[in-house]
Amino acid sequence: MATPDKVTDLTSAVAAHVRDGMTVALEGFGHLIPFAAGHEIIRQGRRDLTFCRMTPDLLADQMIAAGCVSKLVASFFASGSAGSLHEVRRRVENADPKPLEVEEYSHYGMVCRYQAGASGLPFFPLRSYAGSDLPKLNPLIRKVADPYGGPDIYVVPPLRPDVTILHAQRADRSGNVQMWGIVGAQQEAAYAAETVIVTVEEIVEEDVVRSDPNRTVLPSHAVTAVVECPGGAHPSYTQGHYDRDNAFYREWTPISRDREAVLGWLEEWVHGVPDREAYLDKLGAERWAGLGVAPRPSQPVDFGRRRVAAQEAS
């Protein structure tokens, strides 16, 4: 059966689908953060993006410092393992070098926004925020009456990114995407979007994916473009492929404190390299090897095959 081939390269995917002024979600909760795609957006000089990410991470620091982002929609404003995002803080505390609009939720608020967006719902209810100042800070957090007589409940509006970008372990050429380890709200963030770009560690044959259909987080109908991009999540990690570069995260804090240092870093590590392959080369084989993991394979399960069909095929 012929299937549409969605494989492209990252430069083409970003050029084709990410335009100035768009609402763009780059998701991955501490795991599978699509750094390579974020760097390509910086490299292509996108402007005025509304950047959506539950935990902005230092990827937000980088994209904001690079001037790509005019608004941040998020639920946590620090780097994953502690440490401030100083570019974000400079913008918010001192409008330095210029202001940054922020739309703020809690984690589950963001998850619910993605769920509403993914489901075509006008809102999503959650049992948070009663007594909180968050609804005063963000008037998009509202209340509805319970038609069954219970107390009012807070709701959040759908988040519908123009583009959602994710990283995953593998996909087939038609765009069936499989991931494992922490999967966060990626399925929701993708279904919420108009366009979905997925970078993967490897493009695999269709029969690999089809040997385990429950592992598919995004069927091909939810995916616009697939890019093979090994190491695309560094300095975050890809379960089973390479570990988080914790040293990198620690090194970022002093860089982040000094805007000039951030710009210098971007010049060297983003603009100074054409793509992720060159970035990894520059990082060096030794450092990369240090992030390697020992194998820990899942035990296979049996999906079975109708015996008549199996006999006919043999």
């Binding site: 087939d172 429950n214 598919t216 995004l218 069927p219 091909s220 109908h221 939810a222 999906f303 006919e312």
Partner: protein, 261 residues
């Protein structure tokens, strides 16, 4: 190229399945039910649309069954599928978010607006027949791009002026309840019966006779319909199945005549 045509009866399963299969030209994703839709979808993949993605309310996307499925939850649809999603994801993210182009539905009754009754014949409280109920049809109707209904009967009982119960409403009924609640989908676009193909070109409009099966007249169809059904300007005779389509249905798709009658 002259394609040899079959002379199977217009009321036969083969005829209905072949007509149904042709509705899938150019469609990407089809929400397929059990029975005649199973045959139609399988035939479409072997003829007019090899790329059509089969989606089932059981959560299966991109099925490539090695055998004929007995039901929408058959293991043969799971083995080798591209994805199996949870039902919240399937109904919420795939269907309600608008990823399904065509839904295949059955019904006991269809009215002029393409609203469906699959719940009760007779009184709701003490029905003459308790039908299967809504299933996923109440979701497929508003959310699929369009719906194709296949009926096994064409008479004023199956196509009445008034439904005994409206399980899966046309956008017309949604509009009557609240104009702002009109769903994204077109509702029923096509009804395939043993006598004719009825179409509803306007999302807020009525069904009309679009094709009449060989050997029948427009008047035959109108007489068998429970309301004064309009006739399309370009009404024509339904194309017969080809000999090859019938062969595929009988010799490759449903060799045990599970759905062929």
């Amino acid at each position: 190229m002259s394609t040899p045509l079959s002379d199977v009866a217009p009321a036969s399963t083969e005829f209905l399945a072949a007509v149904a299969a042709r509705q899938l030209v150019g469609k990407h994703r089809v929400f397929a039910g059990v029975g005649l839709p199973t045959l139609a979808v399988d035939l479409a993949r072997r003829t007019v649309n090899p790329d059509v993605e089969l989606v089932y309310e059981s959560g299966i996307c991109g099925a490539q069954p090695e055998g004929l499925a007995e039901g929408i939850a058959d293991s043969v649809l799971v083995s080798g599928a591209a994805a199996v999603l949870s039902m919240p994801a399937l109904f919420g993210y795939v269907l309600q978010r608008g990823h399904v182009d065509v839904g295949f539905l059955g019904a006991a009754q269809v009215d002029r607006w393409g609203s469906l009754n699959t719940s009760f014949i007779g009184d709701w409280d003490k029905p003459t027949v308790r039908l299967p109920g809504a299933g996923g049809a109440a979701e497929i109707m508003p959310n699929a791009g369009e719906c194709v209904v296949v009926l096994r009967r064409h008479d004023p009982g199956a196509l009445p002026a008034e439904l005994d119960f409206c399980t899966s409403p046309s956008p017309v009924r949604a509009h009557q309840e609240d104009p702002r609640m009109v769903p994204p989908g077109h509702g029923v676009s096509t009804v395939i019966t043993p006598m004719a193909v009825l179409r509803r070109p306007d999302k807020l409009g009525e069904l009309e006779i679009s094709e009449v099966h060989p050997g029948l007249t427009v008047d035959d169809v109108r007489a068998a319909t429970g309301w004064d059904i309009p006739v399309a300007e370009d009404v024509r005779e339904t194309d017969r199945p080809t000999v090859e389509e019938v062969r595929l249905l009988r010799d490759e798709i449903d060799t045990v005549r599970l759905y062929l009658r």
